[in-house]
C-alpha cells in the first residue's frame, strides 16, 4: 500500500545505508584479518588484501555518511512519520539545535561515535603504514558492534539494534492497529503533525558542541588500544608506543576538554549548584581519561627506557574497556534511580553487554596469553629517576579511577549481588553514598594531592638517574610556593586542611612547571606541551578547590525552624521589595514570558561605602547589574530551572529560582478560597471568615408552577435576600437566586466585588425553614514572591583557563611527536 505523504523511500535508503555500513565493516574485518592467516611475508598478497580492506572500509564509510545525511534531511524537513524525528524534534525548535536533536537519542549518538571512528580510520590508513592491517581490522570490529546498534532488525524475537529510520507505524506496539491501515494517516493523525521536541535541558549551545567533543575523545581512546593489541599480536612490544603516543595525547586533550565542557554545561544550564556533581554519567567519562593519562605516561617510560611494557599495555587496553563500560552504564538504563541524565533504556542491554564482553574478555585474553613473552625491565628503576615517580603517579591515577568506578558501579553491584541479583548476597540493595560530594572529595583529594605533587617535581628529574645537585634546582619554586600558598590560604581563609593542602600542592605544581619550562629549558617549545598541560591541570585544581571550598551561599533564610534544619539557602523575594543579600541589595522586579521560558528579572544594588556617619544615614542604592534566572516551561518534559550568572574576573554570582508560582500570569491574581457553609433561617445572623456578619432577611418566591396532574413542582424561582455587614458598619444587600426546573436545581454564584466575597444559595436545608449557603473569600493579593538561591563562586575562571591550557598543552605534545615523525621520514 502507498501511504500518502510518507517518505518511505528515504526510510528505505536510510536502512540500506546502515546495512551497507554494517556489511562494509564486516568485509573490512575479513580482508584485513586474512593478512594474519598464513604467511605474512608475501608482499604481493598483502598489497592485494590492503586494497580490498581499504575498499571495504570505503564502502563502510559511504554507508555511514549516507545514514547521517538522510537522518539530517529527515530532521531538517520535520518528517514526523519517522519515530526518531518525532521523538526528538518539534516544529517550534530553533534550527540551531537540530544538531542536538541528532544526538539526543541513543541511535544518533552511536552514529556520532561511529562517524568519528570512520574519520580517524582514514587518518590511520594514511599514516599507520605497517600497522594498518592490525589496527584497521580491530577498528572495523568495533564498527561492526557500533553499527549493529542502529541496525534495527529482528531475528525471531531478538531485536538487534534500534534503527533511527523506523516509521512510527512500523513500531512493534503499533503494528496491527487500525490506523496503520489508513492510506492518509499522516493527514488524519493530529499528533503526527508535530514532534515531541528536544529535552529542554539539551537546548543549550553546550549541547551542540559537548557531545561531538566527548565522542571524538572516546573515539581517540580507541586508537591507542588498536596499537596495543596489534603490538601484542605482532610481538612488537616496544614499537607500538611510537605511533600510539600522539593519539594518546590527542585523546587526553579532546576527552579532557569534552568532560570539562560537560561540567560547563552543568554549570550554565543545570541548577546542580556547581560544575561537577559526581554524577554517575560525569564520573564514567572521567574515569577513562584518568587511565588514559596514566597510559600515556607509562608509554613514555617504555619509549625512553625500553622498560617492561606490561603496565602500559594494560592501562591502554583498560582505558578502552572503561569507555565501553561507561557506554554500558549510561545507556543500559541501569543507572535509572541514581542519575539525572542517563539515556533512556532502548532494550539493547544484551547487545551492550556483548559489546563490552567481546572486547574486554577478548583483549584481556590476548593480553594475558602473551604475558610470558613481555620483555622485563633490564634493571630496577632508581629512586631518583623520572620513570620511577612517573610509574607511581600512573598507579595513583589507576587507584583514583578504580575508586570512582567502584562507587559509580553500585547499581551494577545490586544487579549482581543484590537481593534480586544473580547471586543474592546482600539483604538490602545498596544505594549510592548519601552525600556524594563529601564521599568522593574525601577519597579523591588525597589521590589528587599525590598526583599533583608528582607532576610538580617530576619534570626536574632525569631519566634513569638524577644527580643530587640537579634536585636543588627545585629550591626557588619551593620558596615561592611557600610564600604564595601561605598568603593565599590566609587571604582566602581556606582552613579546611585537605583543601588547603591541595591548593598549596597545586600552586607548587604551577610554579615548578612554569619555572622548569621558562628558566631551566629556556622556553623550548618541545617541552612546552608538557609544561602547559601540567600548568593547566594545576589551574583546574586551583579553580576547583577555591570555588568549591569557598563557595558561599549568599541567599540565606534566617528563620529558625528546628535544630534538624539549619537555616537554609533560599531567600524569599516579594515582588518589588528590596531585600538585603550581603554584599548586595536585591529586588525582584518583573516576571515575563519569553518563548517557553518564564524569566525573572532580579536587580542587584550596591551601597556606596559610607565614609562618615552622615553618609551612612543617607546612603543610596545604586543598581549594578540585573540577572535573569528563568524556568523553562515544558508540558511534555517537565519544567527546568536554569541559572543566571554574573561573571566577574575573580568570581561568579550564580543564581537560580528555586521556587515560583508557575500558574499562567493572568490566573495568578485572585483566587476564591476557603469555601464555608452556613445554614440559617430568616432573621438569623452568621459569622463569616471572622470578618462579616451575614443576615438572612426573607425568601421571595418569584415564580412557581405546579404540574396539575402529579401535583409536583414543575418550575420554581426563589430569591433569598441577605444583608452582608462588615465590621466597620458597611452593609450590602445581596440577592441570591435559586431556580428549580422539574427535578433539576440551578444555582448561581453571586460575587460581591467590593467585599471580596462570593456567595451561593444551595437550597433549602433538611432542617425546617433553614437555607444552605456557601461562601468564599477572595484570597487575593497574597503578595507574589519567588524563592531564589545565590552563590558566589570565587576564582572559578581559573578552572576554565586551566582547561583551555591543558587542552592546548596536550595538543602541543601531539604536534611535537607528529613534527618529529615528519622530520624523520624526510631524512
Amino acid at each position: 500500500m502507498d501511504y500518502i505523504g510518507e517518505h518511505s523511500l528515504f526510510a528505505f535508503l536510510g536502512r540500506a545505508s546502515v546495512a551497507m555500513a554494517f556489511a562494509g565493516a564486516i568485509a573490512t574485518v575479513f580482508f584485513y584479518g586474512l593478512y594474519f592467516i598464513g604467511s605474512k611475508k608475501n608482499s604481493e598478497k598483502s598489497s592485494g588484501l590492503k586494497s580490498a580492506g581499504r575498499l571495504s572500509f570505503g564502502a563502510h564509510s559511504l554507508g555511514v555518511l549516507g545514514t547521517i545525511i538522510i537522518l539530517f534531511v529527515a530532521l531538517f524537513n520535520h518528517w514526523f512519520e519517522f519515530d526518531y524525528v518525532w521523538r526528538h524534534s518539534s516544529l517550534d525548535m530553533p534550527m540551531k539545535y537540530i544538531a542536538s536533536c541528532f544526538w539526543e537519542g541513543q541511535e544518533g549518538s552511536f552514529l556520532l561515535w561511529t562517524t568519528w571512528h570512520v574519520i580517524l580510520g582514514w587518518v590511520l590508513i594514511g599514516t599507520s603504514k605497517k600497522w594498518e592491517f592490525g589496527t584497521m581490522m580491530l577498528l572495523a570490529m568495533v564498527q561492526v558492534f557500533l553499527v549493529s546498534m542502529i541496525l534495527g532488525i529482528y531475528i525471531g524475537d531478538f531485536k538487534i539494534g534500534s534503527s533511527p529510520f523506523i516509521l512510527i507505524r512500523e513500531l512493534p506496539e503499533n503494528i496491527g492497529l487500525p490506523w496503520t491501515e489508513i492510506r492518509d494517516y499522516l493527514i488524519r493523525l493530529p499528533s503526527l503533525r508535530d514532534g515531541q521536541g528536544l529535552n529542554p535541558l539539551l537546548q543549550n549551545y553546550w549541547m551542540v558542541i559537548h557531545p561531538p567533543t566527548l565522542f571524538l575523545g572516546f573515539a581517540s581512546v580507541t586508537i591507542p588500544f588498536l596499537f596495543a593489541i596489534t603490538g601484542i599480536l605482532e610481538k612488537k612490544y616496544y614499537e607500538w608506543v611510537v605511533p600510539a603516543l600522539p593519539w594518546t595525547f590527542f585523546g587526553i586533550s579532546i576527552l579532557g576538554t569534552g568532560v570539562l565542557m560537560g561540567g560547563a554545561w552543568a554549570y550554565e544550564a543545570l541548577s546542580f549548584g556547581g560544575f561537577w556533581a559526581w554524577d554517575p554519567v560525569e564520573n564514567s567519562s572521567l574515569v577513562p581519561w584518568l587511565t588514559l593519562v596514566a597510559a600515556g605516561h607509562l608509554m613514555m617510560i617504555v619509549k625512553h627506557k625500553k622498560s617492561a611494557p606490561a603496565t602500559a599495555l594494560f592501562l591502554t587496553i583498560l582505558s578502552f574497556i572503561l569507555v565501553l563500560y561507561s557506554t554500558f552504564l549510561t545507556r543500559s538504563g541501569i543507572l535509572g534511580e541514581t542519575s539525572v541524565h542517563a539515556f533512556v533504556d532502548l532494550g539493547l542491554n544484551g547487545q551492550l553487554i556483548a559489546f563490552l564482553g567481546f572486547f574486554s574478555i577478548g583483549s584481556l585474553l590476548i593480553y594475558l596469553l602473551a604475558w610470558k613473552k613481555y620483555p622485563k625491565s633490564p634493571s630496577e628503576d632508581a629512586f631518583s629517576s623520572r620513570e620511577f615517580w612517573m610509574f607511581i603517579g600512573s598507579l595513583t591515577l589507576l587507584l583514583s579511577a578504580a575508586q570512582i568506578t567502584f562507587s559509580t558501579s553500585i547499581p551494577v553491584l545490586n544487579k549482581l549481588i543484590g537481593p534480586d541479583g544473580l547471586l543474592p548476597v546482600l539483604n538490602n540493595p545498596m544505594a549510592p553514598p548519601v552525600d556524594a560530594a563529601k564521599h568522593f572529595n574525601s577519597l579523591q583529594i588525597p589521590f589528587a594531592l599525590i598526583i599533583t605533587a608528582l607532576l610538580a617535581f617530576g619534570p626536574f628529574l632525569r631519566w634513569k638517574e638524577t644527580p643530587k645537585k640537579l634536585i636543588t634546582r627545585l629550591l626557588p619554586s619551593v620558596i615561592i610556593t611557600l610564600v604564595i600558598s601561605v598568603l593565599s590560604i590566609w587571604g582566602l581563609k581556606l582552613y579546611d586542611p585537605l583543601y588547603a593542602a591541595l591548593l598549596a600542592v597545586s600552586i607548587f605544581g604551577l610554579i615548578s612547571n612554569a619555572d622548569y619550562w621558562l628558566r631551566i629549558v629556556r622556553g623550548r617549545w618541545t617541552t612546552g606541551g608538557m609544561a602547559l598541560a601540567h600548568i593547566g591541570f594545576t589551574l583546574v585544581l586551583i579553580g576547583a578547590v577555591i570555588s568549591n571550598g569557598k563557595k558561599e551561599a549568599i541567599s540565606t533564610n534566617a528563620t529558625y525552624i528546628h535544630e534538624d534544619f539549619p537555616s537554609n539557602e533560599n531567600i524569599l523575594l516579594p515582588l518589588n521589595d528590596t531585600v538585603s543579600m550581603y554584599p548586595y541589595y536585591i529586588s525582584w522586579r518583573n516576571e515575563r514570558k519569553e518563548g517557553h521560558n518564564r524569566v525573572f528579572d532580579i536587580e542587584f544594588y550596591e551601597t556606596e561605602k559610607p565614609s562618615t556617619w552622615n553618609d551612612f544615614e543617607r546612603q543610596e542604592l545604586k543598581p549594578v547589574f540585573t540577572l535573569h534566572p528563568f524556568i523553562q516551561m515544558n508540558d511534555r518534559m517537565g519544567n527546568v530551572r536554569e541559572p543566571s550568572t554574573m561573571h566577574f574576573w575573580n568570581k561568579d554570582i550564580y543564581t537560580y529560582i528555586s521556587y515560583a508560582d508557575l500558574r499562567p500570569l493572568d490566573e495568578k491574581n485572585g483566587d476564591w478560597a476557603d469555601p464555608m457553609e452556613a445554614i440559617l433561617e430568616s432573621g438569623e445572623e452568621v459569622f463569616l471568615f471572622n470578618k462579616y456578619l451575614l443576615y438572612c432577611d426573607t425568601l421571595n418566591v418569584q415564580n412557581a408552577s405546579i404540574n396539575e396532574i402529579s401535583g409536583e413542582i414543575e418550575h420554581l424561582d426563589l430569591n433569598l435576600d441577605l444583608i452582608l455587614k462588615s465590621m466597620d458598619g458597611r452593609q450590602t444587600a445581596v440577592v441570591l437566586p435559586y431556580h428549580l426546573d422539574g427535578n433539576e436545581a440551578h444555582t448561581s454564584e453571586v460575587i460581591i466585588e467590593e467585599e471580596g466575597m462570593k456567595l451561593r444559595f444551595d437550597g433549602v436545608a433538611s432542617a425546617e425553614g433553614k437555607f444552605n449557603i456557601t461562601a468564599w473569600e477572595k484570597k487575593d493579593n497574597e503578595p507574589p514572591f519567588v524563592l531564589m538561591q545565590a552563590f558566589i563562586f570565587p576564582y572559578i575562571n581559573l578552572l576554565w583557563l586551566g582547561s583551555i591550557l591543558m587542552g592546548l598543552g596536550t595538543l602541543l605534545a601531539v604536534w611535537k611527536r607528529v613534527y618529529r615523525a615528519i622530520n624523520e621520514s624526510k631524512k
Binding site: P433, L572, R636
Partner: protein, 134 residues
C-alpha cells in the same frame, strides 16, 4: 624485598582501604521500617508521593511537608527543608535520602522520576483519527 613488590603491596593495601571506605559510605535502599530501625543513620527510600494527603509548602521557611508511601505500602510524613521541586505532584516515583525521627522522615535530598521527563510513554495519541473517520 624488591621495590616493585613493596609498591604492589602498597597498592593492594590502598585498594582495600578505599573499598572499605566506599562500602562504609554507601547507604542502602530501605523502606521506612528499616529507616526507623536504623535511625539516625541516613538511608535512601524509594517511595511514591501520597496525593490523597495534603502537600504543604511554607515559602517563608521553605519547609515542605507531605506523605510518602514506600514499596511495602507504609506511609510516613516527610519533612524537607528545601523549596518544593518543580512538578512535584506529577512525579511517578521519588527517591528520598534522609533519616527517620520519631515524628516522621527528614529528607535531605529528593530525586524525582517523572513519567514524561524523557519519553512519552503514552505513545501516539490516536483519538483524533477515530473521530475524524466517522
Amino acid at each position: 624485598m624488591k621495590k616493585t613488590q613493596i609498591i604492589l603491596l602498597g597498592v593492594i593495601a590502598i585498594m582495600i582501604g578505599v573499598l572499605l571506605v566506599t562500602l562504609e559510605d554507601a547507604s542502602v535502599y530501605a523502606t521506612f521500617e528499616i529507616a526507623d530501625k536504623q535511625k539516625p543513620e541516613a538511608v535512601t527510600v524509594v517511595a511514591k508521593l501520597d496525593l490523597d494527603s495534603p502537600i504543604h509548602f511554607d515559602p517563608t521557611t521553605s519547609l515542605l511537608t507531605f506523605n510518602a508511601i514506600d514499596k511495602e505500602g507504609h506511609s510516613r510524613e516527610v519533612i524537607y527543608n528545601q523549596p518544593k521541586p518543580l512538578d512535584f505532584e506529577r512525579s511517578e516515583e521519588i527517591t528520598l535520602t534522609g533519616h527517620s525521627v520519631s515524628e516522621g522522615f527528614i529528607a535531605t535530598e529528593i530525586l524525582m522520576k517523572c513519567p514524561s521527563k524523557y519519553t512519552n510513554e503514552e505513545g501516539i495519541d490516536t483519538l483524533g483519527i477515530y473521530t475524524q473517520n466517522i
